[in-house]
């Protein structure tokens, strides 16, 4: 049993990590920290875990050494104490945005301030196994992924990998997200009477997750537009691109079949009948799958490619546990078998 600690365990990604690790056959959770809820049972904050664990939140300033440290802190905090954390654990997986970008200049441009530990940026692998499986198997440090970035990257990945796109044409990614994406802290716009039934575009372009898509796929021109809709968990990225001349729907099928065969958590959803013909995030709640879909308009070579995920799982804590599995030599899918619910 490897020993793990979650630093910053009262938020949604921390809670989801805890649920996964408590259920993981090869891991145990030693500590979960929270300043605000210090001394309280974790199930008072994460009520689904009642009767599953007697853990209480502990002080983040009193960490004991463990094998794997998960950092689920607000953006900007991990980078200021990264050496301290590295002294406590051989493996670190940081779910914040602090170590996702490789380049300090790029970081400063998108986050508006210099990075506090730029020398560490190169040590972290971007934690999306579908892109960096081999590297993660040798890694000691992995970053989490931005949920919108993960969905956008996976929507575009098959097309980019097989070089099927005209990359100088606009690459528009329209992202629809649930309310858990903005975290466990409320704000005026998340008050239920205001947030219920919304179709609310909160970022037309310039969202920070764009930087991850550019870095990982090399698509400088990509634009991300983000709209909140009425569900709690879920993220659907719809990418609009232009296929190279000559690309057929058969080529797309070939590419998608291959990529989903190679990756245990990718699935193609493209049915001719039934209710669930395309990727949909609602049935992914709690699961680590990313469901992929695609279509090609022969009229103008426009490609619509789609990725649905649970933003807290494949878009955060699920990918983090998947990284841990790879880094520690476990089966990649270990502890991530929950298939999601239907209906929901």
């Amino acid at each position: 049993m490897i020993r793990t600690t979650i630093v910053g365990g009262s938020g949604y990604t921390g809670g989801e990590l805890l649920r996964l690790l408590l259920n993981h056959p090869s891991a145990e959770v030693v500590q979960v920290t929270s300043r605000r809820h210090l001394g309280e049972y974790v199930y008072q904050t994460h009520p689904n875990l009642r009767k599953h664990t007697g853990l209480k939140f502990t002080d983040p300033d009193s960490l004991t050494p463990v094998d794997v440290l998960f950092l689920a802190l607000p953006h900007g905090e991990a980078q200021r104490k990264i050496q301290h954390y590295a002294n406590l654990a051989a493996y670190i997986i940081d779910l914040s945005a602090d170590f996702r970008l490789d380049n300090p200049q790029t970081y400063e441009r998108w986050y508006g301030a210099p990075h506090a530990a730029p020398e560490w940026l190169g040590k972290f692998i971007y934690g999306l196994p579908e892109l960096h499986r081999a590297q993660l198997q040798d890694a000691r440090y992995a970053s989490g992924v931005g949920c919108n970035a993960a969905a956008s990257i996976l929507a575009l990945l098959p097309l980019v990998k097989d070089n099927l796109l005209e990359s100088e044409k606009p690459i528009i990614v329209e992202i629809k997200v649930g309310s858990s994406e903005s975290g466990a802290e409320g704000n005026p716009g998340s008050h239920h009477p205001e947030r219920s039934s919304v179709i609310r575009t909160f970022s037309t372009f310039g969202h920070r997750h764009t930087a991850e898509v550019i870095q990982e796929l090399g698509l400088e021109q990509v634009s991300l537009t983000m709209t909140s809709v009425d569900l709690v968990r879920g993220c659907l990225a719809t990418a609009h691109t232009t296929a190279r001349e000559g690309v057929t729907i058969k080529d797309l099928w070939h590419t998608y079949r291959q990529v989903t065969n190679e990756n245990p958590f990718l699935r193609v959803v493209k049915e001719q009948r039934g209710i669930y013909r395309v990727p949909e995030p609602k049935i992914l709640a709690g699961s680590n799958y990313a469901d992929l879909g695609f279509d090609l308009d022969p009229r103008n070579r426009q490609v619509v490619s789609i990725c649905a995920i649970d933003n807290l799982m494949k878009g955060a804590s699920g990918s983090a546990v998947q990284c841990m599995n790879l880094m520690l030599g476990f089966e990649e899918t270990l502890g991530l078998e929950f298939p999601g619910l239907h209906p929901i």
Copy 2:
């Protein structure tokens, strides 16, 4: 045209009052106050009113005299300045809980502190026209109603009026409410990921609105239990009582037909087919109707009586405007004709 002012216009009841008064053929709105949003356009807070009014929020300390003053302040504020307000307007309608109870001792028992202006309690008429129509026609001061109280009272009113109940048996009122009931200020439990899809019982008994039901109907034993469900506007009160021996379903029909004939905003909903066979709050959003239903179990004389309202309309601002109409001699339904939407 009578001149009106809304003191405390940035909350949900204030906004709803404003919508109604802007549309009222015999009233105009002179001022709407808000300390927090001072100087901002009211449509920035109430976005449905964009292009409907150029009003800006004004300072509550700079009120000009008008005909009717609507007070939509947090509970406890109006009673501390009621003489000041009375100097500014011949008619006052206070939507808070400050002047709903007649008796200072009762007020102190339910609200936990002595009333600041006990001599004013007797001057206010409880603002439910279905109970006090004649008095309101002569009144200068009316209180608003608690939304849960209004729904409970109207669910029980026909039965009480015609003395059909065994009043010594338990009188249970189960109330289900939408999220707008708790007001425009967020709290941890109103954060969308936590509030969405809830069935959350927030008061098992002892809710302050109980005092209004006891006062208005004389039912000392009434218990109110309140549960939040997933909608924004709407309140359904289901009362469980025991009929006197010999009471038949025909007697109930007679009583309900009479009460709905006498009151323009009461309707019986008791259909044998179709989707909408019973009172439902969703179709009442924005309307001032209270829809009533009933059933009698011959097995044990249990009566189920139901009232559906929009908590911001019949449960607050709609009843307030209805009171104004009566107090100023207008047609009772003036400015309250919007029938609600279907589907919604």
Copy 3:
């Protein structure tokens, strides 16, 4: 008072028309037809109208002559009997797709069958007053609009009108819609457990409403992608286009201010603070407004332009009544003053 009849009054657009016409100061409703609900009170199907009207559904084969005939039939039916309807009323407004396209060949291409009355296509004005106000003032026949087409056209209209776009670049319109858009008849995918919380892309491209956008704006390359989300009423169209070189955000402001000044039901929503900074359909339920927003990414000249509507109002019945007002010389906004609700 002009006399009107609604043919096909049991569906959602028929019900919404009825609500508007019952409230219209210069119109009265003579008949509302429904084969399925023949003889039933209209309020049994449209429960919001209880106590508002004693009308019953009548036989569509027994129409009496009126001034204005509203046809709210399933697509394909009106064209087969249009001469019959024209004998009954001087003015016809058809809300189906039968008379939206001018060209019989275009109709056949998008609808898969020849038009039954091609000679009538040229007699109908496309019923979007923002495009055809002057023509409608002289018209006797107007078509309704496709709700997605209306939102897409209004999202793009200001940019096209002032020739601000590079029209050879991709024009992507991402549309998110509520469940009322598919009509009052259920289907397996509209069953609540399956439809709740969805983000479900039901049309990647090729939706029939595309033909209306091409016809009305002359944008041959436009692609419409449609996704169902969890609300009942509402449609948000987000258009992604490329601005001509040199176009600035100031130019866009100028254009949008002008177009919203010229059109009573268009509003710009582009705020720097508050919750409602961009167009959102939820606050438009029941209202005839189309709210417009825009943004320009100087990095790559991508323009995001947005239009929010209530699909049953501005996207159907509201525009139809607005057309009637123009055709009969009434004030354009008559009977359409309901501003929508907040919160909702």
Copy 4:
């Protein structure tokens, strides 16, 4: 590994059974039947199971012998072929209402028709382990539970077990349910525009599940009232009863602690702070827990006792697998460890 078959696998309880059994460490699924979807992959109907199973729906008329047969058929079908099924498997768990009631007369009174196999009624144990654990350990046949009955029984069980109630006073159970309770087949009222945001009382009293509560708890006077609210999975039963004189809140605590200690899937939820102070069904989606709460009004000895469940799990398929575990000598919680999600 025991071998199981699900007869009637395309509905919601069948799908949920399949999810549980595919994940069960000691069971395997041999067949899942569906006439309508014969030959299709089960994941086309239950999209969460894509990549989890290659099973296809098979013909219910071609069953092979197995160890355990789960019958998830529409009410009335299992009883007509029960001998046939008994020839195919040593153990049968029937999730319909066919074998819940012990007495043929009672069955006929509540279901309106004589039972087709009355001699089998006595062979089935009512499948709620919290009531019949010891009997189930020796049983070969178990019935499922009505979801509303299960929630009502568990809400009342601690009070009845310790004889804390005045049983001659009214026993009112108010039940709020999600949309999955009515099954996978749509109806006019389940169409999303009509079902969304409802608070719709569909049964004032007389619901068939009442018979199960009367039988299992001996409370002849119990009344069940059922109201649909807006969520997919979840059932909250709120029981209103009168405590015997002298019963204190401490007595209730004692009783509830005991009953939840004795039953692995019962939990008390009664917190003084935090968001989740009382039982709530939303966090139970996919889990087999029943969360219990209670309160006592010293003013009038009214007791409010609450039970929250996932109607498809503890209210159907979860209890069925729990019964299987007991019947076959497995650990009671095997395969039922999923704790539910937060947020959701």
